[in-house]
Symmetry: none
Subunit: 240 residues, 2 copies
């Protein structure tokens, strides 16, 4: 049983509270062949001895984890982002159940999966950044321990290699745009729309911006070239 | 997501060392619709406040857990017993991989799954009592946190009910835009871009229009409302 997962996705913990959960998540990652951990604003600072102690044989993953001050920085180079959440949100974004998960393991698309805080998960703004939502189907009591969520998702990714040949098709040969590049475009769009008085009701600006982010985040495998096209469209439309 | 698992198997923890792991196991059980926990000789005695605290919403499972002095007593009424172990043993007993698990949920066979100690798992003598072994397929680092093992096995039991049914994943609730509506938007966009001299090289117009259609056609489940937002964006950007 010496199977290695090549091109495994990145796991991102967003504002985790307990070092124990960071360590337990790292251990589960290593059990299932994942290796790259990123952490956004861990509550108790970093490094955290409790994380190292709970990681057991996966202390290397904890030691080389990257820590970020904000989620946009943590996902800057990511090309396909999943948000793991147990609560269906009133948001126009597709869910995939963990048992049907088909992560790209070809290495062509830099993929990450983010998990939220122990007490309240991910915010709607954070989920908006994702291409897709992963939901673990549960009984009525749906509040999963965060490290259990990480363990189950990593487990499914590892098992996926052995379930038939269900790797997703990769027909788009163009280089994918990163989340940072998309974010740059979206900022430009929102600023331009604001100048044009698109957000007539100031209280609704945040929600409307979120809707716009959500629409463009769901373009399947948006390439760098296509993002340039979108930028060109916005600039052309704005011309007098 | 209010699914109940009827006739769910019993989970047996054999000489667990840390109360936290007992509580985390109970939580995972409840997440996946299991309810009956048995504990053989917990190292730190019983009841254990750490188990109750880690159980969160599953404290009822901890509180009604039965504690035994020996494994034979704990399995006395069990008709089919699984042993969960990550280490292949030199023993003439069938293995089933967790991803292929098919537990009897009919209620006709009283079933239990036992998990061993944090530091050394189950002894060969204990495994001998089992009808079958469950193994969670892992990467080289196969030492799973005990509560993660419980979580993954309970997860597989719960998912088992839904495997083979082609129920679609949960999707967003907004009404999807039709291809005709999208086409109307795209025509409007291309005409507007043409007026603004976006297609500087006439021979390339067709290919560029096709690229634009391609980008917007790949937005995963674009809704009518979102299409209106896109239309609003184009019209706003075009305003003088």
């Amino acid at each position: 049983m010496d199977k290695l997962l090549t091109n495994s996705p990145v796991i991102i913990l967003v504002e985790p509270q307990m070092g124990e959960n960071i360590g337990a998540s790292a251990r589960a990652m290593k059990n299932f062949g994942l290796s790259e951990l990123r952490i956004v604003n861990p509550r108790d600072g970093w490094p955290n001895p409790k994380a190292q102690s709970m990681a057991v044989g996966a202390v290397d993953i904890v030691d080389k984890a990257l820590v970020y001050n904000s989620l946009p920085e943590a996902v800057a180079d990511i090309e396909y982002l999943y948000a793991s959440t147990s609560t269906p949100r009133d948001m126009n974004k597709d869910y995939v159940l963990s048992r049907n998960l088909k992560i790209d393991l070809s290495g062509l698309v830099k993929t990450a999966i983010m998990f939220g805080r122990e007490n309240c998960g991910l915010t709607n703004d954070e989920i908006t950044l994702a291409n897709r939502i992963i939901t673990i189907d549960t009984a009525k009591f749906c509040s999963l321990n965060i490290a259990h969520s990480v363990a189950i998702v990593c487990y499914e990714i590892f098992q996926q290699q052995f379930k038939g040949d269900d790797r997703p098709d990769l027909t788009n040969s163009q280089q994918p745009a990163t989340k940072e590049e998309l974010s740059y475009f979206l900022n430009h769009l929102v600023v331009t729309l604001e100048q044009k008085n698109f957000f007539k009701v100031p209280q609704k600006k945040q929600q409307m911006s979120r809707n716009i982010t959500n629409i463009f985040s769901r373009i399947d495998k948006l390439s760098k070239t296509e993002l340039q096209t979108l930028m060109g469209i916005v600039n052309t439309l704005t011309k007098k």
